[in-house]
Every structure is written in structure tokens, then in C-alpha cells.
């Protein structure tokens, strides 16, 4: 039901039941917000969005107040502006003034607000928060003095990720956001998904930077510098550098990376293809053995850590296949080293990913052989963009170059791994192709691609029925549990920690809206539609790897390097 309200002496249409803020936004009136996150219930904690409603003594928060028919609202009256300004001034009163050195410089919501509200001096002086830098986690760094206590990270961790490893500790002036027992992050139940970093308005939470490390190695002529990047990085870099994404963009990226100084540029896509084929093999074994337990895909490192600490009973059901990054990493340190005739320690292997948990994964137990890690350094898309800018590469006028052999090609199933449900789809397609020698009807996967946090399909492969479950974001685990409790059986289940999959990874550009994420997913599906090689087993690179390269190298011929192990993890839950 629509009715009119008066805003700034003009009449606008509002809908019954919506908040003042959504009515204003729909009519093109912008109000600053800080603690608000679109998909969440409003808290009204920061009071940034206050407006004046005639007949009310106090200012009301537009984000939480339902709109009513009689309302006469002033959104930018002097009183409102003073109130907003004071709020930001109070937030700045104990904020460290080190914007120039801050991780979020030029990309900070607090900085933007103080600019928008024309704050030109430190009017209120408060006692500065005692600096505390927590660098214990392999992926996420906390700088507590920069925290403005908006509570977004706390809510994301609890409501989206369900790990609940952050909460407000203490009260009043002493309040800060921290993990269990106020210990450092490495003791906590944090799964390094990094969604908290994505929502943090300031630089209080950010990724652990590996740029300096990479730079250091780039300057060493005796070391062979190798980089692998996943398909999502290509979109992410285009976004970060403000360039238009085209299908040829990966070739531009290859050229950029070589200009920076990487000797070899590989695609993680081949690792994804290996991962998909090996999981398809495991699925085939499982179905033949008529096992009752489903096979959980373990490509998402955050999900693996979640399982290890919260649901250790599931560990035996986790697929032992390594994640695409680690498979590519291990291939670089064995196959490539062998081909180039160097020792593995002479190769510095960098991985560019849209994921932050990969930083943690590269340091996992079982991800190194003879003291040499498979992946030496992991860069997020943001870091890689920073590196590109640092090296001053002219991205507008650049030639197209292919990636290096033997890891230059991938199937379109590998690119599908970037969206939730993609790996499961790839595995099923491969399995179907292996059994029936033809691909399944694509229509059947429609239900697997969208529609809620838990999606399932079942399809017939010959005489056997294969039941697939996809958990899109860890909130879907509840539905999976209910479904399993009701006696439903699954053959294979894919779990992605970040809602939407890697397209919503924590390493990509900040401040992305739902639409942009959907757009990324659309690009992924488009690539799958248009690319010629749509199955791992049809990809020339993979065939070459399996038929020739693996057999020629005695160390890796048994494919043992593609598998790892998982263990129960003792953390403060």
C-alpha cells in the first residue's frame, strides 16, 4: 500500500511497513549510514542516519523507524546535520590520526563520512584507545585502536558465518571487539573466511599483507618467481583497476604479471580440473561401495577449518583431495621444478586468490614436503592490484600473452568453481561423462545454481541415482542437518563458507553490492556457456598432465601429492 509523506517540504511516496531510510533511498535522497548492513535487521547503534520528524522531540534513526502516514521529515535540517557531525567528531575523538599509513586509506567509510560532513578540525579530544595489534592469525590482522565499535564484524561472524568468534568484550569506555577470553586470534574459532574484513568500515580488520615478502623475492635474480591465479582474480583485478572486463582479460593479466617480474604465470584452473576429476573418482568409488555417508567437498579452506573444530565427526567424510590452489602449488614445486631443472626451494611460488582463508591454507600441516611449502605466499586480489600499481604498469596499452605451459589451459568447469555449487556441478558432469560417455542435460543444474542457502538435486546416471546437496554459506548447514536428520541421503555435498561462493570472497574489492556479486556470478556462468572445453577430462592441459607429465615424473606418478589429511582442531570454541 502506497501513501505520501512529506520530506523536506516535498511529497514522496512511501510503502507501508518499510523504514524511513528505504523510502528515502528509493526517492533519491541519500542519508549517511555507518552500522547498517543491507541484508540485516537494523540496530540503530551508530545513529548516523538520524532525521527530524515533526512532532517528535528526539531525532529518530531512519534505518530502524517504520515510515508512517502522518510523517513530515527533514533529512538535512541544521539540527540533523549538527547531530551527524557531532557523532563523527566523537568517533574521531579517540581515533588514531594515521590515515596516510592506514590499510584503508582512500577507501575508508569513516574517512568518507568526515569528508562528506565537512569536518576540518579535531574539535573534541578524547583519550586515545590503547593501541593493540594482533598479528597472530595467518590471514586477518586486528588493529583495535581503529575500531569504532559499529558491530558489523560481530554480526557477520555470528549471523552469516555462524562461527561466532567475535564479540564485544567489557563495557563502557573499555569496550572492544575480541575473541574468546580476549586472547589473540590464533587461539579463537576464527575460520579465516574474512567476511568481517569485508564489512569493516575502517582499517581495524584487514588481511595480513604479503606484498613486502613478494617484492623481496621479486628482487632476487637467482630465484624463479612463479605466480598462479584463479579465474576470479581476473574479474577482481579488472574491477580493482577500473578496467572493463573482456574475455581476453586473462591474457592482459598474464602480460602485466610478467612485466612485474614473474618468470612463469600459471592458471589455478588446471588445479581445479585435477581437483574435480579426483573428487569425481572418489565419488565413483563411493557409489560403487554403496556407502551411506555423503562425500563432502573440501575445496573451501574455511569450511575445512570449520569442520575440524566444530563438527569433527565429519572429518572422515571430507574428501581428501587438496584444494585447487594447493594442487597447482604442488605441481609447480614438483613438475615445473623438474622441467626447468631446478630444486623446489629455488622456486618462489605465489598464489593470487579472491580468498583470505587460502593464506591460512598455505600454512596448513600437510601442505609442505621436506620443509618446503607448496605455496610460499598468497596474495588477495586487493594486494595484487596494489602490487600492479606499485610497479607502475600502464594497463591501458598492453599486449596479450598466453599463460605458461604446462598449466595454461583449463576447462569451463574450473571457472564454475568460483560460484557456490560449481564444483559439485563439475564433479557430477565429469562423473556422468565418465559413466555415460555424454554430458547430462544442463537444465537439471538450474536448481543447483540458485534458490536458497541449501539446494539439492538428484539425477539418474544410468541406473544409479546421484543425490547432490549444495550449502551456500554456512547458514545452510542447519537445513542440511535437518534434511539429514529426516533420513535423506546424499552422495556428494558441497559447502561454501562465503554466501555465493568465491565470487563473494573476502579478498576482492570492498563495498560491493549484492548486484555486483550477482554480476560476477553471471560472468562465470556466461564463460561456462561460451567456452568450448567444458569438462576437465576434455581439457588438453589436463590430458597432457595425466597421460604424459605425471607418468614421466617418478616422484608424483602415484598422484599422492594431490591428497592431504585433516585432523580435529582444538581451539576455544
Amino acid at each position: 500500500m502506497l501513501f505520501t509523506i512529506q520530506v523536506n517540504n516535498k511529497k514522496i511516496k512511501a510503502e507501508k511497513g518499510e523504514t524511513i531510510l528505504s523510502a528515502l533511498n528509493r526517492n533519491g535522497i541519500i542519508i549517511p549510514t555507518l552500522c547498517r548492513m543491507k541484508e540485516f535487521t537494523p540496530t540503530g547503534a551508530c545513529r548516523m542516519c538520524v532525521v527530524e520528524v515533526e512532532g517528535r522531540d528526539r531525532l529518530v534513526t531512519a534505518c530502524s523507524q517504520p515510515v508512517e502516514e502522518w510523517m513530515k521529515i527533514k533529512t538535512h535540517s541544521p539540527r540533523v546535520i549538527t547531530a551527524r557531525k557531532t557523532i563523527v567528531e566523537l568517533l574521531l575523538s579517540n581515533h588514531p590520526d594515521d590515515c596516510l599509513y592506514c590499510d584503508r586509506n582512500l577507501n575508508c567509510e569513516l574517512q568518507r563520512l568526515s569528508e562528506e560532513l565537512n569536518i576540518r578540525e579535531r574539535r573534541i579530544r578524547g583519550r586515545k584507545i590503547k593501541p593493540r595489534l594482533d598479528q597472530s592469525s595467518p590471514a586477518i590482522i586486528r588493529e583495535l585502536s581503529k575500531c569504532i565499535l559499529c558491530g558489523r564484524c560481530v554480526r557477520v561472524c555470528e549471523e552469516v558465518i555462524t562461527a561466532t568468534s567475535l564479540d564485544f568484550i567489557n563495557k563502557g569506555r573499555e569496550t572492544h571487539v575480541g575473541a574468546a577470553m580476549d586472547r589473540d586470534f590464533n587461539f579463537s574459532s576464527c575460520i579465516h573466511c574474512g567476511q568481517c574484513v569485508l564489512v569493516c568500515p575502517t582499517g581495524a580488520l584487514h588481511e595480513k599483507h604479503n606484498i613486502t615478502e613478494v617484492q623481496e623475492y621479486l628482487n632476487k635474480p637467482e630465484i624463479i618467481k612463479v605466480i598462479q591465479y584463479s579465474s576470479m582474480v581476473v574479474y577482481g583485478i579488472a574491477e580493482e583497476l577500473g578496467m572493463r572486463y573482456t574475455r581476453e582479460f586473462d591474457k592482459i593479466l598474464n602480460s602485466i604479471l610478467r612485466k612485474i617480474g614473474f618468470d612463469k604465470v600459471y592458471k589455478t584452473g588446471l588445479g581445479t580440473d585435477v581437483c574435480i576429476s579426483e573428487i569425481a573418482g572418489q565419488l565413483s568409488d563411493r557409489i560403487e561401495n554403496k556407502s551411506d555417508n555423503p562425500l563432502y567437498i573440501s575445496a573451501c579452506p574455511a569450511w575445512v577449518k570449520y569442520t575440524e573444530q566444530f563438527i569433527p565427526s565429519l572429518i572422515p567424510q571430507l574428501s581428501t583431495v587438496k584444494s585447487p590452489q594447493q594442487i597447482t602449488g604442488v605441481l609447480i614445486k614438483t613438475l615445473v621444478a623438474d622441467q626447468m631443472g631446478v630444486r623446489p626451494e629455488e622456486i618462489f611460488s605465489v598464489s593470487a586468490t579472491p580468498c583470505m582463508a587460502m593464506k591460512f591454507e598455505a600454512r596448513r600441516d600437510g601442505m609442505m614436503r621436506k620443509g618446503i611449502s607448496d605455496v610460499d605466499s598468497v596474495l588477495t586480489v586487493r594486494e595484487l592490484a596494489r602490487l600492479i600499481r606499485l610497479y607502475g604498469i600502464d594497463t591501458s596499452n598492453i599486449e596479450h600473452e598466453p599463460a605458461d605451459e604446462p598449466m595454461s589451459g583449463r576447462s569451463s568447469a574450473a571457472i564454475m568453481a568460483e560460484v557456490s555449487g560449481g564444483i559439485a556441478e563439475g564433479v557430477i558432469r565429469t562423473y556422468h561423462y565418465q559413466k555415460m560417455k555424454k554430458e547430462p542435460d544442463k537444465q537439471i543444474f538450474k536448481k543447483l545454481r540458485s534458490g536458497g542457502v541449501f539446494r539439492e538435486i538428484s539425477l539418474m546416471v544410468g541406473e544409479t541415482e546421484v543425490r547432490v546437496g549444495v550449502v551456500d554459506g554456512l547458514t545452510g548447514l542447519e537445513k542440511l542437518k535437518a534434511s539429514l536428520a529426516a533420513g535423506k541421503k546424499y552422495d556428494i555435498i558441497e559447502v561454501m563458507t562465503c554466501p555465493g561462493g568465491c565470487v563473494h570472497g573476502a579478498g576482492i574489492t570492498f563495498n560491493t553490492s549484492k548486484d555486483e556479486i550477482r554480476n560476477r556470478a553471471k560472468l562465470v556462468y556466461q564463460s561456462d556457456e561460451t567456452e568450448a572445453v567444458n569438462l576437465p577430462c576434455k581439457s588438453p592441459s589436463l590430458i597432457n598432465l595425466y597421460e604424459k607429465l605425471l607418468k614421466s615424473n617418478g616422484e608424483i606418478a602415484d598422484k599422492k601429492i594431490f591428497f592431504t589429511h585433516f585432523e580435529k582442531r582444538n581451539v576455544l570454541l
Binding site: E158, N170, D182, S188, L572
Partner: protein, 166 residues
Amino acid sequence: MSEFFTLYNRMSTDLDIILKKYKQGKREDLIPLLQEIQDHLGYLSEEAIVKTGSFLGLSTTKIFGLATFYDRFRFIPSGKIQIRICHGTSCFLNGSQAIINKIREETGVMPGQTTRDGNFSYEIVSCMGGCCNGPVINVNGEYYTHIKAEQLPELIKRFKYIIEND
């Protein structure tokens, strides 16, 4: 003077016995449960918080966050002698700040901390409702009124004597 040590002796009471009184997974029992654990153990140990968390299905982080909100919960063991000093308006006017300073001097620890030998701990509370009786302190449940800073060294000596001779 054996009531001084009841608190200390009760520490041996098993956590599980307390947990058994409550229903599993009932979140609203959290605060009473924590209060009972604190009454028995004298503080909330990490083990107690983790056990409570798995019992009620709550994350340790959440419980710790809630418990730190309330002044009553403490996370390090209290001393055998636990002194609470009133810092309400009336006691403050009658000189409770001098008492706090004197106790800090005598014990050498800050409010909320425990001496290394585990004998003394003290904390500052807002009001104990004995406003007409000057600075009020409470030692293991027993009230002392109209306390003056000069009396404290002797009082603390007495407590020490009791600890050593029990």
C-alpha cells in the same frame, strides 16, 4: 573464623555437579549458571566457560563477552581474603579513597587482581547500602564500618595471621 575458608574449600566442588542442575541447551539459564559457578569456584575459569558453552550450545566468545559486561564476574581466582571496598558517594565523602590507596599499598596489587601468594584480592564496588556508617569494607562477607586508613595495617596483619595458622 572458619567461614573465611569456606569459599576457598568449595573450589573443589566439581563443575559437572553444578551443570547437572540445569537443562542442557537452555540459553536463558546462562547468567544464573555463571553466578552459581562463580559462587562455588570464586571465579570463572576458562575451563568453566568452555564447559558451560558446550553445555548450553553457546560460543565461548559470546559467554566471555557477556560475562565481562557484568562487574560481578571475575576471571582470575580471588584471594583467600577477598576485600570489597565501597566507593559510593557517602563512603567517598568519608574518605574511602584513602582506604583504597592504603590497601593498594599494603597488598601491592590493583583492584581486581590477586596477590601472588593467593592470599589477598580486593575490588571496588559502587554502594553496599551502609551509607551512614562511613567507609564500609566487606571482608569475605563480613562488614567492617567506619574504617580508617590507620586501622588497615593491623587488620591485614590479623587476616594474615589467620591464614597462616589455619
